[in-house]
Structures are given as C-alpha cells and as structure tokens.
Subunit: 219 residues, 2 copies
Amino acid sequence: MAPGRSQQQRSAPIRRQERGRRRIAEILDAAEEVIAEVGFEEATTNAIAARAGVSPGSLYQFFANKEQILDGLLPRYTESSRDFWNSRLNAEVARLPLAELLDRVVEAMAAFKVQRPAFWVLFHGSPASPRLTEVAEEVRAGIAARVRDVFAIREPQLPDERLELLATVSIAIVRGVFPLAMAADEYRRAQLLAEVKGALLGYLGPVVGYGAVADDRRS
Amino acid sequence: MAPGRSQQQRSAPIRRQERGRRRIAEILDAAEEVIAEVGFEEATTNAIAARAGVSPGSLYQFFANKEQILDGLLPRYTESSRDFWNSRLNAEVARLPLAELLDRVVEAMAAFKVQRPAFWVLFHGSPASPRLTEVAEEVRAGIAARVRDVFAIREPQLPDERLELLATVSIAIVRGVFPLAMAADEYRRAQLLAEVKGALLGYLGPVVGYGAVADDRRS
DNA sequence: AAAAAATACGAGCATTTACTCGTTTTCATC
DNA sequence: GATGAAAACGAGTAAATGCTCGTATTTTTT
C-alpha cells in the first residue's frame, strides 16, 4: 500500500468525490475566517486546518501549498467584489447627482467591509507576498474599471486615459481614508466619511459634473 | 568567569564605552538598510547583525530583543521627520498660493521617500506589530500637527477640530495615492502626483482659500 | 599589573511553521 | 463483497528565526 503517492500524480487528475468538494469549501471558509482575523501571512496552515476541523494532512490533500489556498479564495473575492460593485456602480447610479452618487458608493463600501472582512484585509492589507499584491491589484483593477465606466457615462467625451486616471486616484483616495475611518468610533467615522465624500466631490465635480445626467437615448 | 550575566542586570546600568556606542550606531544603520529592503517583520536579527558586520551575540549585547532595535530607530524617524517637515511646513510656505503650497509639499514628500526609504516603509508599511502601528501613528500625528498649523495660518478662524480633520484627511489622501505613484514609472508618477495635487486643491481650496495669504501683523 | 567591566564571538537551543509520510478509513465501481 | 481510489489522520521533519550561553578579547578602573 501507499505507493509513492506524492499527492499530485499527473496523468490521473484526481477524481474528487462529494466529500472532498465539501472539505475544500470548509477549508476555504476556515481560511477566510482566519485571514480576516490575522491577515494572510500570519494565518498558519495548521490554524486553518484546525479551524476547518481537519488535520494538516487533510488540508494538504486538497491544496499543494499555502499559496494555493489563496488561489482557491481568489474567485470568491473577485466574484463577490464583482457582484457587489456591479449592483452599486451601474448606469442608473452613474446618472445621479454627484453628491448622491458618492454618498451611496462610500456608504456601500463601508458596509462591504463589515460584510466581508477577509476581502477587506486583502484589499487594504500589506503587500506582504508578491502573489498577494498581484491578487489585490487585480481586484482593484476590477473596481477601477467599474468606476471608470461610471465616469464615462457622466462625461463620455473624456479620453479613456483620463477616465482611468480619475478612477484610480478616486479609489486611492478612498483607500487612504478608509482604514482610518473604519478603525475609529462611530462619530469620527461619520466625520471622516463625510470628509472623503467632500474631497471626492471637490476633485471630481469640475470634471464629471455635479448634477444629475439626463438619460437621453438619441444616438 | 561569566557569572550569570543576563545581559541586563539592573543596579548597574552598563557603562557604554566609545566602541559600544559606535556599534550601536552601526547596528541601527544596518537595521535601517535591511528594513528599507524587506520591511520590519521580514528583517531578521541575524541579517541585521550580518549587515552590521557583527555576530548575533554582539547584537544582543546592545539590544534585548528585536523590538528594541525598532525603539532605537524611532528617534531617527521622529527627528528626521520633524526636521524635514518643520523646514517645509513653516509660516512662510503656508502663505503661498494654495496650488504652489501643495506642489511644494507633495514634491518634497516624494523626495523624502527616496532620501529615507526606511522611513517610507514604516510610514506606508503594514501595521504588522502593534508597536509598529503605534510608532507610525506617532509620526503621522506629528506631521498632522504641522499641516494643521499651516491651515491655521491660512484660515485662523476655523475651529481646531475642523483644522485637525482637514489635516488628517489630507494626509490620508496623500497616503492613499503615494504608494501607487512611487511604484510607477516616471511618466505615470508625474501624472498621479499632479492628480493628487489637484484633488487636494479641490478639497482644501474652498476651506482655506486658493490665494496667497497676506502677512499682516496687526494683532 | 591586576581586576573588573564591556565588547565580541558563533555554535546552538527553542520555537514556530509549512509541509510529508505511513497508515487507516470511507466511498465508488465492478 | 471485493478492489482500488479518494479522503483522513497526526506524529514527525526540515528550515527559518529570535535569542542564549560559554568563552575569549579589549578597554577601563584600581
């Protein structure tokens, strides 16, 4: 028995059974929890296994190494991020008065932090590993693309490069203020969020307009 | 010989000789280099010792643990930060037209990053250890105080709380954009820095005024 | 010069942590 | 029910890392 089975024979792609797929999900759930609490680098594989209620050996039955756990988590982040921002940054919202648009988006982002803390850690965390940086960058690029679309609706004649820059900087501004806001008590958080909305209004207003945008379908 | 000398007998505060003080400085220099390269958490004590050209044992002759190396570095950061910002954020600069004021400060900050990379890592790095967070927070508070003073000169009748909030948010905005800018190529860096100046102008202009401020000493 | 204190060394300890291995148990397929 | 693959286990390994210890050398003090 136990023929040099190095966990990963190519040529037989491992036929996962139901049980296995369930375990994978459990391990990823556990990883998400632990990462939300201590960050990715500090999340030990043993801790993740323990949280999932499996042995370290079982964890490595499904993931070749720690990085692959991150890879397994990635789709969750990108998907939930995509869904979230698709529903918040659509054509309809884009046409609102800028102040209201910003209010909605900033508040939504604050709510998202509470809802998906692990995502938050990834998005705002330190770029400890190159892989992690890459992942975070991808997520950010996705959000930037949505924001850019919103700006494009408000001011269609702006060149793409300018739109992209506006989106990137807007997100960076929020990224700068948010950690402060979310760590503070409720009163100060409200203060800071109000400020960042004001700052974005001052930054974006002159470029993409303050008012609502008419939904003219004349093209 | 070697009587249970546990490196740190109270009652005899260790009389450092010249050689020792030199070593301490060398070790701190080395620590600064290594930290600038890999960050504080990833900087191993053995690597710092090796870089300083001393044995691990010697390092621990002067520092009881890794955290005390950080403590030894702290005054350098706070002092160089204080000197730097004192010379950049003075009453004279505060009275310049806002656009020029911002231009100077943002450019100075970019230059500072190149000049003191370890400081940069501390200031923008991850809040990995509680101690590190505390230190970074202290440095930031110092800068915020200077920025607040500048705003106070431009708009003396603003309440202190408002000034403080403006300063904090301004710094947070810069903190959000800077990592992006400094990691990018020269062209994009210039773009991003121009944007952040514009954003700050839009944010602060309505509150602290766009123009130069007269140096009226009538009070 | 002698004693004491400070400095210096570097092999090695203790701990942590990603990961393995040999084995046993559960499941799917015949 | 027999057989083999997948799943599960958990003690154990190798490497990294903060730090110590016994000892040797240099400097200061007496």
